[in-house]
Symmetry: C2
Subunit: 421 residues, 2 copies
């Protein structure tokens, strides 16, 4: 297709989505849940069709020489389909935020003023590979009353269209305009550029994927973008930390799932405790296969620690590697985190009330913890239900984003003829 045609097609799609989204403003929670549960059933019933389309994507990807890790992310196995089904049922159990009125209060003028939770409108998700995001994102958007435009990886287009078709079948059965859930039907990259200019039709863009993708989307978008760049998380072991607890938390935060964005990438140890803490902690980490890169002082304490290069400070390893740094004070730890952290998750291990409170107040990150594992920074663990991403930018949402974060609040005024004096 020519670029001009794609542009026309994308603009028209965004406008139709906007138009269709209005029905969601007042759709009952009951109907939304019915749609989600029926889609779960339809996914199971349509498994064969979905996997046929997925096989075509897989074959094409293999032919183009895609690596096995990427291929496995692309694969819609029975297990992945079952996860999507479970996810849909879980979203149906979450409570519907739309319509909730908070802080309804009478003002001196006589009017009652409150804030009603409403959908954002139209959300555009831009993501790489993993076609299961198509179902997860569509479910969360539907439940929060938003229409959604999905732009997945080009290698997953057939799979994504097949998954959307399952949703559409259920929507049509209930005579609901299927335009509320759209998959961009082209792999042409210019489609993204056009989408990012549709500020009149799209209210929010959520990119999910590598830092390159997110930076490119942010640079081009005229629409607000909720972004999650990377997770460079630290644990600061304070002078008077409970050493056993500290070691347990560091181990858990590093090895429980090293590829996660809330896994530990660095450990800052107060110099007064380092001589006692570090050799044991380094040994425990080493036994679990963790490679330690450290400052000169830390290397003098443990021979298991190799020299860190300058670029290792603040690096997102996402594997069994981490940095170790000895600091002289809480202030130095705070300064290091300010400089090398990514505003994702930071934890302090301490017995000092004063230091715990300073850390809580002064660290700028989406989650700041005392004596707990960074791995807890997660929508499910925090009680938000399923998450659509973790925002490390501060506007609108900071941290895990659940259903509430896909809504906004308008003011509502219940009057009885009041006028302004």
């Amino acid at each position: 297709m020519k670029t001009a045609d794609i542009s026309t097609q994308i603009i028209s799609m965004a406008q139709r989505t906007k138009q269709a989204s209005r029905v969601l403003r007042s759709m009952s929670a009951e109907l939304k849940n019915t749609l989600l549960l029926e889609t779960a059933e339809a996914l199971l019933a349509g498994r064969e069709m979905i996997q046929q389309e997925n096989n075509l994507d897989m074959a094409a990807a293999q032919e183009r020489g895609m690596g096995s890790a990427m291929l496995s992310r692309l694969h819609l196995s029975d297990a992945v389909i079952q996860e999507m089904v479970t996810g849909l049922r879980e979203v149906a159990t979450l409570s519907d935020p739309v319509g909730e009125i908070e802080n309804l209060r009478r003002r001196p003028s006589g009017i009652l003023v409150g804030r009603m939770r409403i959908p954002l409108g139209v959300i555009c998700m831009i993501y790489e590979s993993r076609p299961n995001v198509t179902i997860d994102a569509a479910a969360l958007c539907l439940k929060s009353g938003n229409a959604v435009i999905l732009r997945g990886g080009s290698e997953a287009l057939r799979s994504n269209l097949a998954l959307a078709a399952v949703f559409h079948e259920v929507l049509k059965r209930h005579r609901i305009n299927p335009d509320i859930i759209q998959v961009v039907p082209t792999t042409d990259r210019s489609a993204i550029d056009v989408l990012l200019q549709q500020e009149e039709s799209i209210d929010l863009v959520i990119p999910r994927g590598g830092e390159g993708l997110i930076r490119a989307v942010t640079a081009k978008s005229r629409i607000p973008v909720l972004k999650h760049y990377k997770g460079v998380c630290h644990a600061y072991i304070d002078v008077n930390a409970d050493m056993e607890m500290a070691q347990g938390i560091v181990l858990n935060a590093k090895i429980q799932r090293p590829s996660a964005c809330n896994a530990l990438e660095g450990m800052l140890v107060h110099q007064a405790i380092a001589g006692e803490f570090l050799p044991r902690a380094a040994m425990a980490l080493h036994r679990e296969g963790v490679r330690l890169l450290g400052c000169v002082r830390s290397q003098e304490i443990s021979t298991l620690i190799e020299a860190a290069e300058e670029e290792d400070w603040g690096r997102e390893f996402l594997d069994l590697t981490m940095v170790v740094r000895i600091v002289d004070s809480l202030d130095e730890a705070l300064e290091y985190i300010e400089c090398h952290g990514s505003r994702h998750t930071e934890t302090i291990l301490t017995r000092s009330y004063a230091n715990s409170q300073r850390f809580l107040q002064e660290v700028d990150a989406s989650a700041v913890m005392i004596n707990a594992s960074t791995r807890f920074n997660d929508g499910g663990q925090f009680g938000l239900g399923m998450e659509i991403g973790i925002s490390t930018s501060k506007l609108h949402a900071y941290g895990p984003m659940g259903l509430n974060e896909l809504t906004t609040r308008k003011f509502v005024v219940l009057g009885n003829g009041e006028v302004r004096a």
Copy 2:
């Protein structure tokens, strides 16, 4: 100065502001209030110096042929200075949102999870004329724990620098880095372009002024922008409205302050009530000097109504002009508002519970009202205290923005050695 020099200067200024902003994360409410109250005193004491600088701005503006309306906005009269003093004292009385922890709850894992209100960091205000915004914005930013970069109209630069100097004198007395309140010290337009690229140093941009300024800022900014384009507000007079109440509200909403963004620009009248309501309402409005532009059907009912041009529908008049349109149903009114409203303020006049609830749910605007004047959409009237603007975009804040809207929330986790299973 050369463009390259300006660029270096602005980048350095933004970085210094970011660096200085850290002290505000944990500054006590008491100290912030002291700073505000002492600045109020210093403004009174420094009035002569401020007015001298303001006179230089006024003289230069007059020489360049600035109109009298603009000149009057630029003038820092005794009354305007007194208003700023009152404003500073009022901000000191508002409660400090920073540090407040909401919804602290124990999760099944044992951790306590809550959300702590924190400052956004650094806010950049871009505004036209009116140097009093310099003090108002700096006060609200300081109280909400944010550093601020102020870029006012170029014709007000001397006045703005003089006002900032008053703040700086108080900050220095308390040994606080004055970089937390900055006035861009050049009138060069390229400074704005450079500012809008400093996403690492600036967290939020708030433009205040005409639609052209706001659109230009949004198009160029890599930083999130909170925008308020315009206020095209409507009243829908339902079939069974209390006609006396409806007329009172329409009059108030139109004439109490026609130049305000929450003033009425259009009236939609149900056809079944139009014959009785419209002649009287038109007469009352006409008596107050309001010019009415209407649809053909409305002109048949009242000779006081002139023909509206196509471009009048959805126009922001900001004076004693408004449109009148007869509609056949609530649905038609909703459709008209969707099409011609500006997502600012919409009100329904009705006795019908069902219609009031549909209007409340289905209208997409920052404030949706039942039987009340649109003029209530205001931070003070809604109980937010002073406002820094009214957002008509949905991300982060929708409607009047007070201190809370200048903050965000991070997650805090209080643990006792918990790890993730």
